[in-house]
């Protein structure tokens, strides 16, 4: 049996053997042998030094293992003897480890390992275009080509655009999330096909709309083709066009967006066909629609590459000033990229991980306390073993082994908890238009994390009891006879544990309180429109290959169909849902009578709206009129702007009748509406404008139907689905929900923080209460004699109650004070994530202090009541 052994010990053994031989040589020489003879004989007599070394090392190895096996056997037996203690300790640990493992695996799957299945993923970065005012936007295909061809520090670049695809025939259309990508996409990501082949560069960059090829994800292949290898060469209908399947991606690969899962890939040159935009997108520099991925060249840092990208973008801003004036570009690591869910999750995840750390410390203190109590009651056993010659180190190891056994149990149960909780993130995410969340797997790194956490917790929790056990004085412990005594030191230590637990729980509760209040304030913000009783449905009209006229007539028919449905009060449509996850579109505007400052951002966001939109949304028209059915392709272009637009650009004179240029046309402002929130509930008023959807038609644009209903929401949502099916089954409804849900979804980052922090803080509070209860009831038990004497000497039950409660209150008081201090320091880190509440909000601090004190007194009440019932006769008879 060979075990890896420390080099120091091996060297010492060599030295020991060498000294043996030298002494033998010296003795032989003293007896008259010559130096050579003596050396040869001594070495022969010693035998094969290598073998001696080996068998001696075996002695260490086996002994080490045997001791361990013995400790484990003994530990298991001891734990089995006190099932109550064991289950409480294991459960406590399981809670801590389960929570930590869950959050870690989320962080791991979204931030640390954002692109599973991708080779050398840390070299893959995101390229983002920046507007003059520093906002990030997608990149146009032509800009991408210029950047790709000129950037030397980047090995390769690829576009990738998430698209919802209508897959299947007329009878059965399914909405599938896919990406349209460059030919080198898979090569850039270092992904090998599981079956068939991936795209080639030729299939992407040259001819437009000629390479109708598709690659399936592993899971789509499994679920739709039963993993049949004959799928290669088969045809799949995407948005009604036939596509040839050429390959299947490996199971580990989910696409190029952190945390999200895609099921199909098609060449970016097919974007025009799939989105019914012809080839305009790929020829128009203004059509910023693609994400760009880049792989850094070997040896180059992201900073160097970013500088290069910036300088190229600067040259482009001059060369293509008509479209790119003031624009720039940057490179970001995947986890910092804006396209995807990771941005909204970085904040909540860091907070949650910190809260989990706090919870874990409480768990440590609690289990440490339990072990300490046990160590005290087992003092006699330990002293006996010491008296019988067991080395102290052996006792320390015994206690730590037991602690590690509990840790192992806690880890197994914790992993079980984690595997149940992993999917729960999906419920907290908005149900709206994002691809499904990749289920965070329990993989090697997560497993290693759980093991490390369990080990660290067990060692920390076991440290104090282990030394307590080893310190035991043989004589003292045995002299106490049958009674088990707790030393003053151990009592102080336990007090300290409880105080830190209370303090940590206080910090966790303050954090949770702040987030809950901040979330409530956020939800109370009025969006400027009335989302109640409004059902919305996203329709994928690009799937039906409509031209402008067909799309218009489709919308009219659907509107009429919906208006006939019972309970429907109002119907309208637009190309956009406010406060949804999609970023809107903007247009460069020129406003007659307004001279922009040099470099002023005139890219103004807009919505294409149908008549009746403002009435349905209850957005007040302050001046002028709403759009009407006469505002169509043949009529003069008209525009409605919001209050902030007027404040900014038309401070003097009347807004109505003012001319504004966009899309190369002059629009006349016919109305002014009140401000409403568009992207975030927390945004400041922003200039915004609306144009009739019938005057600016884009085949790839979204089409969203709005229905205000007096009936139940579910019925209204189902009604839209039925109506759409009746008007044209070729147009899939891919998202039908209530506007309220959309707004709730826009707060999902805050909601995750608030709800999960509340859960964690409640667990922390519960554990701290259990810890306090344990210490108090143990202390009452220890002081039964003293209380008995007090009662015998005339103390009233009230006095006994006060005695115990004041003890508990003192511990809780220290905890609350410590927690408040720590809270003041720590919550400052949260201020950027809070809304409408100060990080040191005195009310939250006060409420949490009261709650914690209340729970602490409750935890002390049971032991206190027990103390009150102490019968002095019984208590004194113990002596």
């Amino acid at each position: 049996m060979k075990l890896p052994l420390g080099g120091k010990r091996g060297k010492e053994l060599d030295e020991e053997i060498e000294s043996h031989v030298r002494m033998a040589i010296r003795d032989r020489m003293e007896r008259g042998e010559s130096a050579e003879e003596a050396e040869a004989n001594a070495r022969r007599e010693f035998g094969n030094a290598g073998v001696v070394r080996e068998v001696t090392q075996d002695a260490w190895g086996w002994r080490w293992l045997e001791n361990l096996a013995q400790d484990v056997r003994f530990g298991l037996r001891m734990l089995g003897k006190s099932p109550g203690f064991t289950s409480v300790a294991v459960l406590t640990l399981a809670l801590g480890i389960g929570a930590n493992t869950t959050i870690f695996s989320w962080i791991h799957s979204v931030l640390l390992n954002p692109l599973p299945g991708v080779g050398e993923a840390n070299r893959v970065v995101a390229l983002e275009t920046l507007t003059p005012d520093g906002n990030w936007v997608p990149t146009s295909y032509l800009d991408f080509r210029d950047l790709r061809d000129n950037c030397k520090l980047v090995e390769s670049m690829s576009v990738a655009k998430p698209m919802d695809l209508a897959v299947g025939n007329d009878v059965n259309i399914e909405r599938v999330w896919g990406e349209v990508v460059s030919g080198n996409f898979f090569e850039l990501l270092h992904v090998q096909p599981e079956l068939g082949r991936f795209f080639t560069t030729a299939e992407v960059d040259h001819e437009q709309n000629t390479h109708a090829l598709a690659i399936l994800s592993h899971s789509f292949w499994m679920s739709h083709y039963q993993a049949d290898p004959r799928v290669i060469g088969a045809t799949v209908r995407i948005n009604h066009f036939p596509y040839t399947i050429i390959g299947v991606a490996p199971a580990a690969f989910h696409g190029s967006m952190p945390g999200l899962t895609f099921d199909m890939w098609a060449p970016a040159t097919m974007y025009g066909q799939l989105s019914s935009t012809g080839d305009a997108t790929l020829r128009d520099r203004k059509w910023r629609t693609f994400r760009v991925l880049a792989r850094l060249a070997p040896g180059d840092s992201i900073e160097q590459a970013r500088d290069e990208v910036k300088s190229i973008a600067k040259r482009m801003a001059v060369a293509d000033a008509d479209t790119n004036d003031g624009m720039s570009a940057t490179l970001l690591p995947m986890w910092k990229a804006h396209y995807g869910i990771q941005e909204s999750l970085v904040g909540p995840f860091s907070i949650l991980m910190a809260a989990c750390g706090v919870l874990l410390l409480i768990v440590c203190a609690n289990v440490g306390n339990l072990l300490l109590t046990r160590a005290t009651t087992r003092q006699k056993e330990f002293s006996l073993r010491l008296a019988l010659g067991a080395p102290r180190s052996r006792l320390i190891r015994q206690v730590l082994t037991e602690s590690l056994l509990i840790g192992t149990g806690g880890m197994l149960a914790g992993l079980e908890i984690a595997s149940l909780l992993l999917g729960s993130l999906g419920f907290l995410l908005p149900r709206s238009s994002t691809p499904s969340l990749t289920r965070a797997p329990i993989d090697t790194s997560v497993l290693l994390f759980a093991i490390a956490v369990a080990f660290a917790t067990a060692m920390i929790a076991g440290a104090a009891p282990a030394f307590q056990a080893a310190k035991g004085n043989v004589n003292d412990a045995l002299k106490e006879g049958g009674r088990t005594g707790a030393s003053a030191r151990s009592r102080r230590l336990r007090g300290l544990f409880v105080v830190s637990e209370m303090a940590l729980a206080m910090v966790a509760l303050i954090g949770a309180g702040l987030f809950v209040k901040s979330f409530i304030r956020l939800s109370e913000i009025r969006p400027g429109f009335d989302p109640e009783h409004v059902a919305i449905a996203n329709l994928d009209i690009s799937a039906a290959n409509y031209n402008a006229e067909q799309a218009d007539s489709y919308s009219q028919r659907l509107r009429e169909q919906l208006e006939r449905q019972p309970g429907v009060a109002d119907v309208s449509y637009a190309d956009y849902v406010p406060l949804g996850v999609n970023n809107g579109s903007w247009e460069d505007l020129e406003i007659r009578g307004f001279v922009p400052a040099p470099g002023e951002n005139m890219k103004i966001y807009r919505t294409l709206a149908a008549p009746g939109y403002f009435e349905l949304m209850k957005i007040k028209v302050l001046q002028g009129r709403d759009f009407n059915l006469k505002d169509d392709m043949t009529a003069l272009p008209v525009m409605i702007v919001n209050e902030e637009f007027v404040r900014r650009f038309i401070p003097n004179g009347t807004a109505i009748g003012r001319q504004v240029n966009g899309w190369g046309k002059w629009f006349t402002i016919v109305g002014v509406v009140q401000d409403s929130k568009v992207y975030r509930l927390t945004e400041a008023p922003t200039p915004y404008f609306y144009v009739p959807i019938r005057q600016i038609y884009r085949p790839e644009m979204g089409l969203v139907f709005y229905v205000r209903t007096s009936g139940p929401m579910d019925g209204a949502i189902l009604g839209i689905r039925r109506a759409a099916q009746a008007v044209d089954p070729a147009v899939p409804v891919f998202e039908a929900t209530s506007l309220d849900d959309i707004i709730a979804g826009s707060l999902f980052g805050q909601r995750i923080s608030a709800s999960l922090l509340s859960v964690l803080a409640s667990v922390a509070l519960l554990l701290a209460a259990i810890g306090l209860y344990g210490v108090m009831s143990y202390s009452v038990e220890q002081r039964t004699n003293e209380i008995g004497i007090r009662v015998a000497l005339g103390a009233q039950p009230r006095d006994v109650l006060r005695l115990v409660l004041s003890d508990g209150a003192r511990l809780a008081g220290f905890g609350v004070a410590g927690g408040a201090l720590a809270g003041v320091v720590l919550t400052r880190l949260l201020s950027s994530l809070l809304f409408g509440i100060s990080a040191t909000d005195p009310f939250t601090f006060g409420e949490v202090a009261i709650l914690l004190t209340g729970v602490a007194l409750l935890a002390c009440a049971i032991p206190a009541l027990r103390a009150m019932r102490v019968d002095p006769m019984v208590a004194l008879r113990y002596e």
Binding site: E15, S19, D27, A59, G389
Partner: protein
């Protein structure tokens, strides 16, 4: 059950342990010294193989019956010196009485005398 099994087969190993512990009763000693002492005290009959001695020393050390430390010998050489611990003394006493029982038992088997009538 297992304990009894071990007692039976580990007799010889236990004997070497006994010899080592007994030798260390007279004071701390290094490995070479122990082997020389056992040899001298047994009238040159027992020659302890180094391949058995060193594993035994290290095993006894792990058990906590002897403790080792590095000392400088009279010849200015660094040597590893073993001494008997308190636990080792107790163990030695137990082993000695076991050895006495054992040798009585063996003697009894080899010289069946007074007990024949009972058989």
């Amino acid at each position: 059950m297992k304990e009894r099994y071990r007692n039976r087969i580990e007799l010889l190993q236990g004997t070497l342990d006994l010899l080592v512990l007994q030798t260390l009763r007279w004071g701390p000693q290094h490995g070479y010294g122990i082997s020389q002492a056992i040899r001298a005290n047994s009238g040159e009959i027992l020659r302890v193989d180094t391949g058995s001695l060193y594993p035994a020393l290290h095993r006894l050390e792990v058990e906590g019956w002897i403790a080792a430390s590095w000392k400088v010998s009279e010849n200015n050489q660094r040597v590893r010196v073993y001494r008997l611990t308190a636990a080792g003394k107790k163990h030695l006493a137990a082993e000695r009485s076991r050895w006495a029982q054992l040798s009585d038992a063996i003697a009894g088997v080899l010289n069946p005398g007074g007990e024949e009538s009972e058989a």
